[in-house]
Structure formats: structure tokens, C-alpha cells
């Protein structure tokens, strides 16, 4: 049988998962944490503690600032030192709550035992409320508040829950280790999300470069099926390794053979996609009352002395993580938060981790060197690589000409910033750099046009009344 994957484009960068055999380990608690108030897509959370307050692990320190927002909890116990701006990993100021650590005292209602709790609450509303109170956000990269994702707008019905265990980015292994070491919790988390959505089918999709994870999760699913009907309908699906398989749109295509329309949401085609670490966080929030206060981070790179998959408290300074493993290597030239394809290069190593931090990758100058740009030879490799079926060479040309109408007609707004075009260009043309700028510009124009149309419609309505 042909190996299943998404239908358009994609590239095959070297796997480089050199930290795949490093077991998850807990990073010691740092002396101070800096917990950002905006760790999710949407409005920043509003702080509910004051300087000088004593907090415990798991205590709410900020509440959702709007519908699209999330609770934020203290990841340590100690005293709130300050609430104010601090530089994030790009060097921009962000509101953070600074907490000086004293001991490790947890909220009493948190179940810290390892016992697997397989009985799932009956009421979907109660589950979603618990997820919301647990501050769970999508840990696949976008940090979309999970309780919002699990409450589809009226009229939209979810037909399939997809749990994303692709981890298609090279180097990253924290999802893989989570699947291997916390597979039971991930599967129970999957069943909980399935219940919350009221959907019959769930697919845990894993790329076939992780056969151990596929085997393990298949066994776990089989053994949990005996526990109750809520575990039926969960399947494990092996997908052919190809980047960006873990992209939401690509994964839906690979698993369901459906494509989300431009500007649409996965729920439009009956899909909800959550990362394996999100499923774990859901399990912990719902079954153990443990809010999202730590997450797994792969620390890796050929030049880095010690590979690791660490469980890190939210708000831990990056420098603390790096020093724990022996400091920044002499030969490293670039430090990336996330994977090498879509991750962000870090400008400020003093920044703190956030809920969505999944990897710290060290690359040498040689590894990350950009080629000198030469003429486009019109080989079409960028168009073959684009998983959205766009034509990057054309978008690049149109962007340089500043033709925003043609850019929109050629769907620059559909770009998912995966980097396949730049990765594959033999002439070293910085396609994505140019395209992402043009994309921002076109999306701005589209938003302005939509706003103007809305205003005009309202004005017309007011007139007739």
C-alpha cells in the first residue's frame, strides 16, 4: 500500500532527530521565573495578583482578557516580585509577571500522583470549562486557546478529531518522547477531547520515521478500549514522513482527504486538530486538575554538547535551560526557538520560555548559511515544494513589482510560511522573506476592504431604517 501523506508539495529535509533517545527529564526549578501575559493567540490575559503576593504552583495569576484568551497560572511557588515589561526572545517588550521562587508548594487540588485516571467526565461543557480553567492552549506552535477550539460555532459539526503527532520539523523530538513515555495520558486526553466535541472518530497521526511511537500508541489504544466505550473510535495512522505534514491544513488533507478552503477553518470541513502535547495538557487539566504550568522542550543541535528533552516550568529563562546543559557552545551561530524550518531565531537568550516553546536548537554558521543569491533558473522547484500549491517564483516577482492585486489573485494570502520554497530554491533566492512581507501587505488590504464593506453595509442599513 502506498504510504499516506498530503497531496500537494512538501520537502524532505534530513531528519536530524539526534535527541530521539533522550528520555524526558525535569529541569530543576530556576530561582526566578518570568511568566508572560500573552502566551497565546488572542488578547493578553489580565493579571489578578499584585506585587508582594505569595503564590503557589498552579495558582491563577492572570485571567482571560477576552473571549479569545487564556488563563495563566503560576508555574512555581514564591513571591510576585514585579509585573511589567521585559524583553521577549525577539527583543520586544512584553508584559510579564516576575516570581521569585521559594520552595515548591503546589495548589492542594492538584493530583500529583502518577496514577492513570481513565474515567472521563460525562458532561462536555464541564470538560471544556476545566480545559479553560487549566489555561490549555495549542502546543503545536500556534498556541490557540484550546477551549475556544473545542467550542465550534453554531451550525458547524466536527466529524473527526485529529491528534497531531507528526513532529515533521527536523531535530524536534519532544512530541516523540511524550508519545513514548506519556502515551497513556495522551490517549486518555484524546478521548476527553473527543467527548468534549461529541465526535465518534479520532485519529492519532504519526509520521513513519517514529515506528516505536506508532507501535506503542497502537498498543495503548488497544488496551484502553477495554476501559469503556469512550475509547472506541480512536485510531492510529502512520503517515509518510514529509515536511510540513504537521501543518494543520496538510494534516487534514492527509488524514481526511479534504481541503480547507482559503480563509476557512478546519471545522468547515469537519476537522479539529490538536497536538499530542495539547492532548497531554488536556489530560492533566481535566483528570489531575493540573493547569498548563510546564511543557516539554527539545534542546538539541550537532554543536550542542548535550542533547535533551526537558520538562520545563513556564517562564524559565532560556539561559537557565542552556546553562543547565553546559552553556552555549562556541561554534553555535544561531539559536532557534522551535524547529529549523518554521522556528524563530532568538535575539535575546535572556528571554523566558512560554507555553508554546517546543525546542531550542543550536546551529552553526555553516549549517544555517544562506547561499548567495543567483538568477532564477525557472526550475519550478519552489512551486513543486509549496504545500499550498502556490507559485513562489511568481509571487516573488509580483511582490518586487508591488502588484498587490495580482498577488491576491495568485493567493499570496494562502501562504502558511512553512519555508519549503526558500529551502528548495537552488539559486538561493530569499523567496519566503519577500513573500511573507507581501502576504502581510495583502492581508492588510483584504482586512481593510472587509472592514470598509461592513461599514458601508451598516451605513446602508441605517439609511433604510
Amino acid at each position: 500500500m502506498a504510504r499516506r501523506t498530503f497531496s500537494i508539495g512538501g520537502v524532505h529535509p534530513a531528519d536530524s532527530k539526534i535527541s530521539r533517545d533522550c528520555k524526558l527529564e525535569y529541569l530543576p526549578i530556576p530561582p526566578t521565573v518570568y511568566i508572560a501575559l500573552s502566551q497565546h493567540i488572542g488578547a493578553p490575559a489580565k493579571p489578578v495578583v499584585e506585587v508582594g503576593d505569595k503564590v503557589k504552583v498552579g495558582q491563577v495569576i492572570a485571567e482571560p482578557g477576552a473571549f479569545m484568551s487564556a488563563y495563566i497560572h503560576s508555574s512555581v511557588s514564591g513571591t510576585v516580585k514585579s509585573i511589567g515589561p521585559r524583553k521577549d526572545l525577539s527583543g520586544n517588550n512584553q508584559m510579564v509577571v516576575e516570581i521569585a521562587v521559594e520552595g515548591d508548594e503546589w495548589m492542594e487540588n492538584i493530583d500529583r500522583t502518577d496514577t492513570l485516571v481513565t474515567d472521563i467526565p460525562e458532561d462536555p461543557k464541564a470538560i471544556i470549562e476545566k480545559i479553560k480553567l487549566g489555561g490549555v492552549v495549542g502546543l503545536g506552535g500556534a498556541t490557540f486557546p484550546t477551549h475556544v477550539k473545542l467550542s465550534p460555532p453554531p451550525g458547524k459539526k466536527c466529524e473527526m478529531l485529529i491528534i497531531n503527532g507528526c513532529e515533521c520539523e527536523p531535530y524536534l523530538t519532544s512530541d516523540f518522547r511524550t508519545l513514548l513515555e506519556k502515551g497513556e495520558q495522551v490517549v486518555v486526553g484524546t478521548a476527553i477531547i473527543k467527548k468534549a466535541l461529541g465526535v465518534d472518530k479520532a485519529t492519532i497521526a504519526i509520521e513513519d520515521n517514529k515506528p516505536e511511537a506508532i507501535d506503542h500508541i497502537t498498543k495503548v489504544v488497544e488496551s484502553l478500549k477495554a476501559k469503556g466505550p469512550e475509547y472506541s473510535g480512536i485510531e492510529v495512522l502512520s503517515l509518510m514522513k514529509k515536511y510540513p505534514e504537521g501543518g494543520e491544513k496538510q494534516l487534514i488533507d492527509a488524514v481526511m482527504h479534504r481541503q480547507v478552503k482559503s480563509g476557512g477553518l478546519p471545522i468547515d470541513v469537519g476537522a479539529v486538530v490538536d497536538n499530542v502535547c495539547t492532548a497531554l495538557a488536556v489530560y492533566e487539566a481535566v483528570q489531575k486538575n493540573k493547569p498548563l504550568i510546564d511543557n516539554s522542550v527539545t534542546v538539541t543541535g550537532e554543536c550542542f554538547p548535550k542533547q535533551a528533552n526537558l520538562i520545563v516550568r513556564v517562564g524559565t529563562p532560556l539561559n537557565y535551560v542552556i546553562d543547565f546543559l553546559g552553556g552555549v557552545p562556541e561554534t553555535a551561530a544561531k539559536v532557534i526557538s522551535g524547529g529549523p524550518m518554521m522556528g524563530k531565531s532568538i535575539a535575546n537568550l535572556d528571554a523566558a520560555t512560554m507555553k508554546g516553546t517546543g525546542g531550542l536548537l543550536f546551529l552553526t554558521r555553516e549549517q544555517t548559511k544562506r547561499m548567495p543569491e543567483s538568477s532564477c533558473i525557472r526550475c519550478g522547484k519552489c512551486a513543486d515544494a509549496c504545500p499550498m500549491g502556490l507559485e513562489p517564483f511568481l509571487l516573488n516577482r509580483l511582490a518586487k513589482a508591488g502588484d498587490t492585486d495580482a498577488l491576491e489573485a495568485n493567493a499570496v494570502q494562502d501562504c502558511i510560511m512553512c519555508g519549503c520554497c526558500l529551502y528548495s530554491c537552488p539559486a538561493g533566492i530569499p523567496l519566503l522573506d519577500v513573500i511573507s512581507q507581501a502576504r502581510g501587505q495583502v492581508m492588510g488590504i483584504m482586512r481593510a476592504r472587509a472592514a470598509a464593506a461592513k461599514a458601508a453595509a451598516e451605513a446602508a442599513k441605517a439609511k433604510t431604517e
Partner: protein
């Protein structure tokens, strides 16, 4: 670590560069080059050397001294043009004719348009067609291959030329095939007479398979040309086998294989999308046969490719990739 690098994603790059791609094309051409030298002897090696060196020298001269830019020889594309031009010429071509071909190919067809990636027409083919029109005597003086150590050169017509001539004198195709003693196995393996690169079908196909396996090119353009030639010639041949040559003869003779595998698949002058590429290939196959059957030239691949080259911008406008989530 003194300084920390910051740049947008992606942070990795594929190892396949323009240079690697062009070098693969050179490697893919090697079987044809070796076979042509073995069959046509030292003269062919001389033509190859003159062609490659002239192409590289002309490109170097133009980029360094006329455009005052960094030399682009490092991308190997001038070498590819040089080899292709040489393979498109008879081994008996005088060195100065080869040089003029190189001058037209690189100087006119490539550099005046802005160099690699900007030209509309395949440079080697422009060079060849220029020579064909300007120096018909040299360009149609084919030599029957005598081998690397052969002495007595015998010149003769190519199968396509001989058949065309015979047909004009009223003979029928099967009689001509028999009287000239053409066999398919001979065409497949070598010894047929014509441009150096047309000598051995197998050598060209080996190179083509290498390019496809290495994912340098996709096979669709080549397959659509060959498929069209086979299908259309089949119709004509079945209708009148005395007047029209059969499909296999058309596939194996002349520059069809060299053209469809190496010239029509040139990145710069072929469409970007597979759909466009198939239309492009069908056009080349059809025009080639029309020239062979009804034109005054015995061979039409070069003209067919150049004509279809001019439609590429249009094909790129008409045919786009299938986009995700858009009908």
C-alpha cells in the same frame, strides 16, 4: 559564540544548488559524449572542446568585461550549452563554424536577454539553427561513423535525409529502408550518421533516466513529445505506409531523443507547470512530424522546440499549479 545570528525562517537549506543541477546535466550528457567520441573519433573530441571552451570564454568575456559583473561560469550552464551545441553538430564541422555557433548561442541567445534564466530560446538550439541556415554545406555534411581509429571517412545522408530525398524522387518508404539497409537495432545502438549526439539512442536514454532519477527534471515533457510523435506518425503510417515513415523510425532517428531529453527540458525555456509542459511537449512532437513529413527540411526538432519556446510565457500564464483548497 560572539554574535547571535537572527534571520527569518527557514534556517536550513537544501543542498541542491544551481551548480549541482547543471553538473548533473553534464554528467547525464557524458554517455552521449563518450559514445560520440568513440564513434566519430578525435574530430568529435575537437568539436566538443572548441564548443565548450568557446561558450565558456564568450560568457566569461561578456559578464566580466561588457557587463562588469562577477563571472557566472561557476554555475556550469555555459558548459552545458557548449556540450549540447557540439552534440548538435556534425563531427566534421570546422572549428571556426563551431565558434560562430557558440557566439550566437551564448552571445545572442543567452546574454543579450540577461543571462541564465532570462533567455526565451534555448541557446544551443539557436546556435545550431543559425549555423544550419548560414552554413548548410557544413551542417549537412554528415559522416558515417568510422570509429575512434577509423581512417577512411565516408560521408552520406542521415536516414531522415535519405528517405526524404528518396520520397521526393518517387520511391516508397519500405524500398528506401531496405535499399539503405537501415535497421532499428542499428539506430538504437549507434552507427547511423548525423549529428554527433544523435548517434546512439541508448546513451541519450541513459542520461535521461539519470536526470529523472536524480529529480533534476520531470519526465512529462519528454514523454509527451515522444508520445505525440509516436501517436501522430502511427496515424499517418497506417494511412499510407508507402509515403510515411513508421513510429519507431521517427522516434529513433534525427535529433528527436537528444532534443526531447536535453533541449526541450531546459528549465529556462520550458513551462513551469506539468500541465503546461505536456501541452508544450505535444506541440513540439506535432510540429516536428509536420516538418519531417511535409516540410522542406528532413529534420524539424530544433525548429519545433524553438517555436514552442516562444509559447512558454503564454503557457505559464494559462496553466497554474493546483492550489490547496481552491477549486
Amino acid at each position: 559564540m560572539d554574535k547571535i545570528l537572527v534571520s527569518p525562517n527557514p534556517h536550513l537549506h537544501s543542498k541542491t544548488t544551481t551548480k549541482v543541477l547543471m553538473r548533473d546535466v553534464v554528467i547525464a550528457l557524458l554517455p552521449a559524449v563518450v559514445v560520440s567520441v568513440v564513434f566519430y573519433g578525435w574530430k568529435e573530441l575537437f568539436v566538443l572542446a572548441v564548443s565548450v571552451l568557446s561558450c565558456m570564454a564568450i560568457e566569461y568575456f561578456i559578464t566580466r568585461f561588457c557587463l562588469k559583473k562577477v563571472s557566472t561560469l561557476g554555475d556550469w550552464s555555459a558548459a552545458v550549452t557548449g556540450i549540447l551545441l557540439a552534440l548538435n553538430l556534425p563531427s566534421t564541422t570546422p572549428w571556426w563554424v563551431v565558434f560562430i555557433g557558440a557566439l550566437v548561442a551564448i552571445g545572442v541567445a543567452k546574454m543579450t536577454f540577461g543571462g541564465l534564466g532570462q533567455n526565451i530560446f534555448n541557446p544551443a538550439l539557436v546556435g545550431r539553427v543559425f549555423l544550419l541556415i548560414s552554413f548548410p554545406t557544413y551542417m549537412t555534411h554528415w559522416e558515417i561513423p568510422q570509429g575512434l581509429f577509423g581512417v577512411d571517412a565516408v560521408s552520406g545522408a542521415t536516414p531522415l535525409g535519405a528517405i526524404k530525398e528518396g520520397l521526393m524522387q518517387g520511391a516508397s518508404v519500405p524500398d528506401l529502408m531496405a535499399s539503405h539497409g537501415y535497421t532499428y537495432s542499428q539506430m538504437l545502438f549507434a552507427n547511423i550518421g548525423g549529428s554527433a549526439g544523435e548517434a546512439c539512442a541508448i546513451a541519450i536514454l541513459v542520461g535521461f533516466i539519470y536526470l529523472v532519477v536524480r529529480k533534476v527534471i520531470k519526465p512529462w515533457i519528454t514523454l509527451s513529445i515522444l508520445g505525440t510523435v509516436a501517436a501522430v506518425s502511427c496515424v499517418f503510417w497506417l494511412a499510407n505506409p508507402a509515403q510515411f515513415t513508421d513510429p519507431l523510425f521517427n522516434l529513433l532517428t534525427g535529433g528527436l531523443l537528444l532534443g526531447s531529453c536535453f533541449m526541450a527540458t531546459d528549465y529556462v525555456t520550458s513551462p513551469m507547470t506539468t500541465k503546461g509542459g505536456i501541452i508544450f511537449g505535444v506541440g513540439i512532437g506535432f510540429i516536428t512530424l509536420m516538418i519531417r513529413y511535409f516540410g522542406s527540411y528532413p529534420e524539424g526538432v530544433s525548429f519545433a522546440i524553438l517555436i514552442m519556446n516562444s509559447t512558454v510565457p503564454l503557457l505559464n500564464n494559462w496553466f497554474h499549479q493546483k492550489k490547496y483548497g481552491r477549486a
